[in-house]
């Protein structure tokens, strides 16, 4: 049989088309992977047990617990996923979703679920994908970007990154020092759903709080893919990969470690000099910083579920008569309007009043009512053994002294005696304070009389452990009264003013050991030398 030239070419092109269509279908069917109904059903079981109370039974981010969280639980129907390996605005890959479930998002309501099997992660991912139709559309399914390992870290690169940081106006949101205090930070909103919530720029000086993770690769991905649903854009097209690594190295240089260096004891250093608190932070250069985690007050009615501050750093120095504390914490914005106090009744903006639950944490009206504030708490008197007053404003039997500074009224230090959160009485005090807000950081100094005669509460005696704890209020976040961030009891230790030489005890014990040896050798020789 013979084919004409024409029919041959027709046949050929027909074949090509078929092959083409077949390959495309094949490609897409490999990518649109929604799992079987059985797999989705088993994913649903996990979802109902572990996710629905926050993300909602319909995946809309409106579970009953979502009221309490900030940032809000993700609305899966929006298809907007922050952490992806795909280009800005695109859907995530299955692996992206699985990674978030496995690792969680630090310092947000999303916990890590490291204990599922590979199959369970996959089934849960299949189920999450059913909430948004785009996952079923081959047009929306994309390949992940390819990421390489981080090039070696160098200080020159970090310095170049620092220049790029201001050149690209990262400071507009993240602030000049990276503390998340840029000028536009208070106005930022998320874009996940119809209701807009305020969203905080990441505090770049604490990489352990980064939602994706603390490694340089994690940061590079954030620059490259952007965070969908947030104001953080992708810099894939505007900054070269080389420059992105410089930026990464700069951000990396802003925190010391991957994990926070939380402490339990403040060591106060002795100084001969007069302590003049108007000198500010520089007074404390030689004393070691102790970092304490701050958490929400969720113990007594008037709860604060998501306070802004997550840690407070404390240093201390003392001389013959006085002791001073430097308290520093990062705050997006100095709120110096309005007022604040630990005994303000917690109002309708807080969640304990169910009528107002829906209104809370909406951007408008959050400003200007309450100012930023801080407090340092010690027991009113030292108790025997481990016994202490209750760590939240004391208890009926054992009271605490709370030194409070409203940062809208910086000159007036207030002191409260607390016999419980609802039994705070204002008392006279002789505490001096100095405060300063600079580039996303509050620093407050309290100076106390060491009270060695024990007349005004606790005496700050050398070489003893004194319990103390802290409170921070962020006015922008409507924190007021007992709706604040708190710490557990920690310890203060005044390092001896006269450094003791170890020579005397060393000599004593060394000579004692020698003497003992000689006696033993002598006795044994006396007894056995005959044999």
């Amino acid at each position: 049989m013979q084919f004409s030239k024409k029919s041959r070419s027709l046949q050929g092109s027909f074949l090509l088309i078929i092959i083409g269509v077949f390959t495309i279908c094949n490609l897409y069917s490999a990518e649109v992977n929604l799992g079987t109904e059985v797999e989705q059903a088993s994913g649903k079981k996990l979802y109902v047990n572990y996710c629905a109370h926050c993300h909602g039974i319909d995946g809309d981010g409106k579970g009953s617990a979502s009221l309490y969280f900030h940032p809000k639980p993700r609305d899966f129907t929006s298809g907007k996923y922050k952490l992806r390996s795909t280009e800005s605005g695109e859907l995530p890959t299955d692996d992206d979703i699985k990674q978030v479930i496995k690792k969680g998002m630090p310092y947000s309501g999303m916990p890590a679920f490291p204990g599922f099997t590979e199959e369970e992660y996959q089934n849960l991912t299949y189920y999450l994908k059913t909430f948004n139709e785009d996952f079923t559309d081959p047009d929306f399914v994309v390949d992940p970007l390819v990421f390489s390992k981080a090039p070696p870290y160098s200080e020159e690169s970090a310095l170049k990154g620092k220049e790029l940081y201001s050149l690209n106006e990262c400071n507009g949101c993240h602030g000049d020092s990276g503390r998340g205090s840029g000028v536009s930070a208070p106005t930022l909103e998320d874009g996940f759903g119809e209701t807009k919530y305020h969203i905080r720029p990441a505090d770049l000086t604490k990489r352990w709080t980064f939602r994706r993770g603390a490694t340089r690769e994690d940061m590079y991905r954030a620059f490259t893919t952007g965070l969908n649903g947030t104001p953080m854009p992708s810099y894939k097209d505007s900054i070269t990969p080389e420059d992105r690594w410089h930026l990464v190295n700069y951000i990396y240089s802003l925190s010391e470690k991957d994990e926070p260096n939380y402490s339990t004891t403040i060591i106060a250093e002795y100084t001969e000099k007069e302590i003049d608190i108007s000198q500010g932070k520089s007074l404390f250069e030689n004393s070691e910083a102790a970092l304490f985690p701050l958490v929400g007050q969720v113990i007594e009615p008037g709860r604060e579920f998501f306070p802004s501050a997550n840690a407070i750093e404390v240093r201390s120095i003392y001389n013959q008569e006085t002791i001073a504390f430097l308290l520093t914490w990062n705050d997006m914005k100095a709120d110096t309007k309005g007022s604040n106090a630990p005994d303000i009744l917690v109002d309708k903006f807080h969640l304990d009043n169910p009528k107002n639950k829906q209104k809370t944490l909406v951007v408008e009206e959050r400003d200007k009512r309450y100012s930023d504030a801080v407090a340092l708490q010690v027991p009113s008197k030292m108790t025997s053994g481990f016994k202490k007053p209750y760590f939240l404003f004391g208890d009926k039997k054992n009271s605490v002294n709370v030194t409070f500074l409203d940062l809208a009224n910086k000159n007036e230090v207030k002191q409260y005696t607390g016999y419980g959160y609802d039994r705070l009485t204002s008392v006279d005090n002789h505490v001096l304070a100095f405060s300063n807000y600079e580039d996303g950081e509050w620093s407050v100094i309290f100076k106390y009389n060491r009270n060695l005669d024990g007349e005004e509460g606790v005496s700050f005696i050398e070489e003893s452990f004194i319990p103390l704890s802290f409170y921070v209020w962020d006015g922008f976040n409507n924190e007021h009264g007992i709706a604040s961030s708190i710490t557990a009891w920690y310890s203060l230790y005044l390092k001896a003013s006269v450094k003791k030489s170890p020579i005397v005890p060393m000599l004593t014990y060394g000579l004692l050991a020698l003497l003992l040896e000689l006696i033993i050798v002598f006795l044994i020789r006396k007894k056995f030398s005959a044999t």
Partner: protein
């Protein structure tokens, strides 16, 4: 993996035994074996047990083992003689003059060094060893009524067998209570890893662990939930516990529901009450 250390240690001892038998070396001496056994026990206690034993417990065990080995040596005069023979030789015999002199110098130096490094340790506040599950009171005052803990039962527990659907409703109500209140400290998976856990001392209880609710009666859990930190006795450090007195926030039914939920989620059963007749 760690448990493999036990057979490994015994294998090493066995090798020593074989060598000492075949070549009749000096370390057939009982003193060698006592020291070898002492080290073997220490290695096992220190490394083979998970979770690691606290150093105070290890010290206690080692003291017992030391005494036992001491008895082993002194129980038999011949053995004792054999064991101390090399020691006495070392102290008495002139040919060991130089090493003996060295030992006499080195030991006081080590002691002095220990004192020096002991004075250099980081200053850390002493740790309070709190009692985690203190004895409960016999009765509590709940919202104006007296509840006798020994007689208190979860009023919805019986539904588990009698009406599983109603039981499930209570569990679901408890789930909501849990995730709107407890999750911040006790965590999404009930393992005590909530977002505030790192800032609290004592850390929140891990309900998934066999050492918490699985060991307790529901009445005990009710007491802990309803009354929180303020009702703890001093040995449990009520001044530091962040457990709220949930009677301020929750109804009696909500407390019983959330108790059903934490048992249901973790798969634990409450400890059964001992019947008194």
């Amino acid at each position: 993996m760690n448990y493999l250390i036990i057979p490994l240690v015994f294998f090493v001892l066995f090798i020593f035994y074989l060598i000492s038998r075949s070549k009749r070396l000096s370390f057939t001496n009982p003193l060698f074996w006592v020291v070898a056994w002492w080290i073997a026990f220490y290695v096992i206690l220190k490394n083979a047990i998970l979770p690691p034993l606290p150093s105070s417990i290890i010290q206690m065990f080692m003291a017992i083992i030391t005494i036992a080995l001491f008895f082993y040596i002194t129980a038999d005069t011949q053995r004792l003689k054999e064991a101390i023979h090399p020691v006495i030789q070392f102290l008495v015999n002139r040919k060991f003059k130089l090493p003996l002199g060295l030992v006499i110098i080195i030991i006081p130096v080590l002691v002095a060094g220990k004192v020096y490094f002991g004075s250099q340790v980081k200053i850390v506040a002493p740790v309070f060893g709190r009692s985690i599950h203190p004895a409960p009171p016999t009765k509590i005052n709940y919202q104006g009524k007296q509840l006798i803990l020994n007689e208190l039962e979860n009023p919805y527990r019986h539904l588990e067998t009698e009406s599983p659907l109603d039981f499930q409703k209570h569990v679901e109500a408890g789930r909501k209570v849990y995730y709107n209140n407890c999750v911040f400290c006790h965590g999404d998976t009930l393992e005590g890893k909530g977002i505030f856990a790192h800032g609290l001392n004592p850390i929140p209880a891990n309900f998934a662990d066999v050492g918490t609710i699985a060991q307790l009666q529901e009445s005990y859990v009710f007491w802990r939930v309803a009354k929180g930190a303020p009702d703890l006795p001093d040995e449990s450090g009520p001044w530091s516990s962040a457990m709220p007195a949930w009677e301020k926030f929750l109804t009696e039914e909500e407390i019983w529901d959330v108790i059903l939920f934490i048992y249901d989620f973790t798969g634990h059963n409450p400890r059964a009450r001992v019947e008194h007749h």
